[in-house]
Symmetry: C2
Subunit: 107 residues, 2 copies
DNA sequence: ATGTCTTATCGTAAATTTACGATAGGTCTT
DNA sequence: AAGACCTATCGTAAATTTACGATAAGACAT
């Protein structure tokens, strides 16, 4: 946790994880070999537009990616970013007790 | 990540981490042997009431605890819950991928 | 008791998030 | 070209979050 970019990333990831539906989506995606919006709509107690909105948030955070397979869109975990998020949280919880300088900007 | 209680806890922790000021507070608390509200107010670009509000959120999430040492209140990381959060995130990022079928079964 | 110091809470406005139905867009099939 | 299918986006209302100043609450000192 050395710079502001890491903090921003941590905040970004945390925000995305801060809703039970999005956790559910990620867990579902992680256990499916293939999964499109419609599948999630069928499982979640939400309107299609709302599910799409949550998918958009997860995509914006970098957790997932979509692949167009007409007429559907297959979603899956963005493995690289997933690992990055995992490392960020890990370092935060571990390394929060090692170095720190300025509270706002620890260059 | 077996039940809803874990998911709720994960969401609760994620929400608390979903704001840069709160990350800054946690990082600051983690490196101070002692730290009260006033110290944080002096360092953060926010009003006292706002800092107090963020501290309340962090306390609600379980990340921190306050000890009254008149006339101040000393805050510190709630170690037990901190470790619990760490474990939760770890299991979430790890355990979401107990199986990797992509090698055996494409799409 | 009064005043001081520190922090929490109240009241509020502005911004953001969440949810929905309706609609638009893109691709394939006929 | 028309229709069917799937998903994203738009417009929106309700709920939540964030920030502030003002005020209250608690403990000590005078």
């Amino acid at each position: 946790m050395k710079n502001n970019k890491d903090i921003d990333a941590l905040v970004k990831f945390s925000k995305a994880l801060g809703h039970p539906i999005r956790i559910a989506i990620l867990k579902h995606l992680a256990t499916q070999t293939t999964c499109c919006t419609g599948d999630l709509v069928g499982v979640l107690p939400l309107a299609q537009s709302t599910v799409s909105q949550h998918l958009k948030e997860l995509k914006k955070a970098g957790f997932i990616q979509g692949e167009v397979i007409p007429p559907k869109i297959k979603y899956c975990i963005h493995q690289e970013n997933w690992n990055m998020a995992k490392a960020l949280f890990q370092h935060f919880f571990d390394g929060c007790f090692v170095t720190n300088r300025s509270i706002i900007d620890d260059h």
